[in-house]
Assembly symmetry: C2
Homo-oligomer: 251 residues x 2
């Protein structure tokens, strides 16, 4: 049977989701825990290949097994073998042709900025520090132009291998709560580094280094040069991965 897990993690101590030569990955920790629980190795497929330092509240991962573990027991079975900064929060059976990555049709990312003269000691590894005061209203207004279906060719790091750079953004918002500025974006899919490039551009817009129109201009020009920096990985969280209606959870 095919099992879909929901996984949360603080990415600070890992070199990202995928297996890497240079350090432990989330996927590796999960496969090691599964091997201990199941008694045999299984390959896990994640919905999103998060980079080193990126966090997740709701990553998804699937694998196939003949083990007779009730799917809803997987959090309790696996968390015993996982470090405290990785937690399986949910387990369910899915149809055999389900695919955690290709069938995902909605992802939400959250980018957190700590906007105060001194960085946050308590949240130093989950927020990007910007000491210069940012205008969150200006950032929120500027980012609205990305909502809809657009060619995001300008919004991709070199090294991306996608067939098309057209993506649909359902919503985008920037909010402030004290020193914490939160950028939340929901779309059908995202290009490599796309959210971090938007976040870095919004930081530049918020401090007046770039005009608010630069996002619209980049959508038209397709040029990465119209945009700001790629914001640091540790401010980013994969907040949700959702699936289309026809995907049924099996009993």
């Amino acid at each position: 049977m095919r099992i879909l897990l929901t996984v949360a993690y603080r990415g600070s101590n890992y070199c990202g989701w995928q297996w890497q030569e240079n350090g432990p990955s989330i996927q590796q920790e999960l496969e090691t825990a599964l091997e201990k629980a199941l008694g045999h190795f299984v390959r896990v497929t994640g919905a999103s290949r998060t980079d080193a330092g990126v966090h997740a509240l709701c990553q998804r991962a699937q694998f196939d097994t003949d083990a007779r573990i009730p799917p809803e027991r997987y959090p309790f079975v696996l968390n015993r073998f996982l470090p405290p900064d990785i937690r399986v929060t949910h387990g369910q059976q899915v149809e055999d042709d389900f695919h955690a990555r290709f069938m995902a049709d909605r992802k939400i990312y959250t980018y957190r900025i700590y906007n105060a003269p001194v960085a946050s000691a308590l949240h130093y590894d989950t927020t990007a520090h910007v000491p210069v005061r940012l205008d969150e209203k200006k950032m929120h207004d500027a980012v609205q132009c990305i909502v809809g279906t657009h060619d995001f060719a300008a919004f991709v790091a070199s090294g991306g291998s996608q067939k098309t750079t057209v993506r649909t953004i359902y919503s985008a918002k920037v909010e402030r709560n004290g020193a914490l500025i939160t950028f939340t974006v929901c779309g059908n899919a995202f290009l490599y580094n796309m959210v971090r490039i938007i976040a870095g551009t919004l930081i530049y817009i918020g401090q007046g280094k770039l005009p608010p129109e630069c996002l619209l201009q980049a959508l038209e020009s397709g040029s990465r040069l119209d945009l700001g920096i790629t914001a640091p990985a540790h401010g980013l969280e994969l907040t949700h991965v959702g699936y289309r209606e026809e995907y049924r959870i099996l009993p």
Copy 2:
């Protein structure tokens, strides 16, 4: 001149505020950074001796120096020499007879509980995990009896060396935001482990292990046995240390 620093830290990697044999302390890190910045050693006095694993948003620490560093520059001077989980957020000159600990007349502590079947991966070291559903309304109502001036003799861990166990609590509240339950308490001073004993008792009350009246009963009996467990250190944060009106900040 006497300098008062405001210090924030994530306590997870430290054996508490005070110098210890068994590992690095916040005080030690701060004194090491000051020695590098000033060129000579100074002893720092903290407002509160937080335990191992306890966090702070607004701890206070004072020291004396003849250095000609403008007091408001201390965050920038010291943070260069401090690890990212310790930040000096404010520096100011105070009168020579000021005392960070003895003159503090208001402290706020926050205790955070992650109330969900699976622990939080992102906040595993800043929240206490309680998998059983807690009744936060019952907890909030129960804790109101500690507001006012009372003898908190029942609410102290053995090893406390205070002359009196009478303390004044100005406010106490319990709130839920999704899975996060927050207990916030403001008082003139607190006994050793007092907040963690109240938090642990509230957790028992919230799951029905102890009756809501047990807090009132403990105030009357003075017996630690009427209360619940001492909640784990890593859920606790020293949120604020305040000083009486007559304390003047020098120019």
